[in-house]
């Protein structure tokens, strides 16, 4: 096989509808996930390293309510968000008063514990066999959306309804959070990032604001968790590896710290690149290819942080200002 053949094989996926739908579904999922990280890190200046754990807590709570306790799907959706938001408060209460590095450790530890519990509490979570059977309601909705799309002259396609819902939700949430950080409430968060002592001197209860920021971010993670859960229709601890949190940070830094439009661009950019690598024809086992992809994510994160901390759209000062003098 000549080099030309390899290239021909490699690029044909770009005209494949399934590829683009998949990129869209994943990019919106990670995008919503990264919105929360952006709110915490870019806007509030608290280093949440446990986003994958909040995502797991919210989506498992939803799945458990539907599968084990026969809670209606819509109620379970609200319930999962509530569980994640409360988890945010519970994690934040002891750790948000601490120095930034202790907070990062505590949140990362939390996310590992959630995964650990999911892996070992078989009766509730299905353990490493996974939890499934929560998608019935979604399947009904999906069929209805397919019907609407047909009215518009769009043929039904696998995962297309999910893409439509995800895309709408992602854009609405991005706009919502972007507006929120411009509100008086959001300006306090910004003030905390710039100079917490000054914000406190102005009479703001900065701890409470940080707690709210973390809790809202956890709720966003739960929504991202639903997108993932419905996409893969099985919840398993392996889906919530802390490497997800690294994905989120890559998106946030690519798009620029503090920029919500950047999150939208960054998520599509990263997922497009990552999914494209699936079509590289490598003479390696699947497990090695997966390891290679994670290696690249780690390396990209490091390179971005060192060489282009301002991302594509962000201002360099956003990160530099925070350096210890």
């Amino acid at each position: 096989m000549s080099a030309n053949d390899v290239l021909a094989v490699s690029f044909s996926f770009l005209t494949n509808v399934d590829f683009w739908i998949n990129v869209g579904v994943l990019a919106t999922t990670y995008g919503v996930f990264a919105l929360g990280i952006q709110l915490n890190v870019g806007t509030t200046g608290i280093f949440n390293f446990g986003q994958a754990g909040f995502m797991a807590a919210g989506s498992y709570a939803m799945g458990i309510m539907v599968v084990r306790w026969d809670v209606p799907f819509w109620v379970a959706l609200l319930g999962g968000i509530a569980v994640a938001a409360v988890a945010g408060i519970l994690v934040g209460l002891p750790s948000l008063r601490l120095r930034a590095d202790y907070f990062a450790i505590s949140t990362l530890a939390f996310s590992e514990i959630v995964r650990y519990v999911a892996d070992n509490w078989d009766g509730l979570t299905g353990g490493n066999l996974g939890l499934f059977g929560y998608t019935d309601s979604w399947n009904a909705i999906s069929v209805r959306i397919d019907g609407w799309l047909e009215h518009l002259g769009i043929a039904p396609h696998f995962l297309l309804p999910l893409l439509v819902v995800n895309l709408a939700l992602f854009l609405v949430l991005a706009a919502f959070v972007a507006l929120l950080v411009r509100s008086p409430w959001g300006r306090v968060l910004n003030a905390i990032r710039e100079d917490e002592d000054a914000a406190r001197a102005l009479g703001k209860n900065t701890f409470l604001y940080k707690l709210q920021s973390l809790s809202l971010s956890a709720a966003l993670a739960a929504l991202a968790g639903y997108m993932l859960a419905i996409n893969i229709s099985i919840l398993s601890p392996a889906n919530f590896d802390p490497v997800l949190t690294a994905y989120g940070y890559v998106i946030v830094i690519l798009g620029g710290l503090g920029s919500y439009f950047g999150v939208v661009l960054g998520s599509f950019f990263l997922i497009f690149l990552l999914e494209s690598t699936r079509y590289l024809e490598l003479p390696l086992s699947d497990a090695r290819v997966a390891a290679l992809r994670f290696m690249i994510v780690g390396l990209v994160l490091m390179a971005l942080v060192v060489f282009r901390p301002q991302g594509i759209f962000g201002k360099r000062e956003e990160l530099i200002l925070r350096s210890r003098g």
């Binding site: 280093f47 590992e112 514990i113 994670f294 780690g298 390396l299 990160l319």
Partner: protein
């Protein structure tokens, strides 16, 4: 009392807990889990002391420290594959990990410090490095379990208690190393300089300490001890896989925080403490959940004494 004599209070608490567990769960059971706890405690302690030293000297939370443990275990496997006797493979593992740690300082951390990067950048670099290393090892060696070549079936019986022969050997090696580290820090000039740096790098510089040299030595010690910890974990377990370091890092962080971040003696004691508490907990809860107990201890310590049980430093706010 807790503020003035934390060590004493802690020992009293431990003894009391041990007695209660012994009375309620049986003496043979408590004896066995205590042995398991000390076995686990010594690799937690060796992992924790390196992590805490690097934090003390460089203010760097090295999330990749768990991968240093994995690296050590795999360097041992390479030694085995080259046909070295097990003892030499262990040495090879420790030295290779120490060299890797020094290498990372030269090619990564020192240039990055020169660029005056912020706190978030450092944390993210360490996180990225952790994922990179874990998956580089998985990529190079495959994700599956690999046998470490130690005898894991032979064991000794002390009355009704059992301890594996390899477990016993690694525990003795671990405890001796812990004692050596503590003595070096306390009495040698090198140890004093390292502790001086951990207290204040500027002050240490003005007193004429060659900080670059001490930083390199600290990396060598931190990584070498991490490599040893990984080996001491993998030998009695009989196998290693690319995820072992990551699975241990949580307990190691708990040990570091319990001991007070930056406090080397605290980390050693914290490691043993976390090992004991996790193994004791298996008497009353599902053994699979023991790591969660380490997390619970971490949270409780953060709540009541955020500077750690032995810490003097500030942990609350910047």
């Amino acid at each position: 009392m807790l503020r003035r004599r934390p060590g004493l209070v802690l020992v009293a608490l431990l003894v009391a807990t041990g007695l209660v567990l012994g009375l309620t769960q049986g003496w043979r059971e408590i004896g066995q889990v205590t042995i398991n706890g000390i076995v686990a405690g010594n690799y937690f302690a060796l992992g924790a002391v390196g992590l805490t030293l690097i934090f003390g000297v460089l203010r760097l939370v090295n999330f990749a420290h768990g991968e240093f443990l994995t690296f050590g275990a795999y360097a041992l496997l390479v030694g085995n594959a080259l046909g070295l006797p097990l003892v030499l493979s262990v040495v090879c593992g420790v030295v290779a990990t120490a060299v890797m740690g020094v290498g990372l300082e030269v090619v990564l951390w020192r240039p990055v410090r020169r660029r005056r990067v912020g706190e978030l950048q450092l944390l993210l670099l360490a996180l990225g490095l952790a994922f990179f290393m874990r998956n580089a090892i998985a990529f190079a060696a495959g994700p599956e379990d690999r046998a470490t070549g130690a005898n894991v079936t032979a064991g000794l019986h002390l009355g009704e208690l059992r301890v594996g022969r390899t477990e016993l050997i690694v525990t003795i090696v671990g405890l001796v190393t812990i004692a050596l580290v503590a003595l070096t820090l306390r009495y040698s000039s090198l140890g004093r300089q390292t502790r001086a740096l951990a207290d204040s790098i500027q002050l240490a510089e003005t007193t004429g300490i060659d900080t670059d040299r001490i930083v390199l030595i600290t990396w060598a010690a931190s990584a070498g001890l991490a490599g040893l910890a990984g080996i001491l974990y993998a030998l009695p377990a009989g196998v290693a896989n690319p995820g072992i370091g990551f699975s241990l890092i949580l307990s190691i962080f708990a040990a570091v925080v319990v001991g007070g971040i930056g406090n080397a003696y605290g980390a050693l004691a914290g490691g043993i403490l976390i090992g004991l508490v996790q193994e004791w907990a298996t008497l009353v809860i599902d053994p699979a959940m023991k790591v969660a107990v380490g997390f619970a201890v971490l949270i409780v310590v953060l709540l009541i004494r955020p500077a750690g049980l032995f810490g003097r430093g500030r942990s609350v706010d910047r």
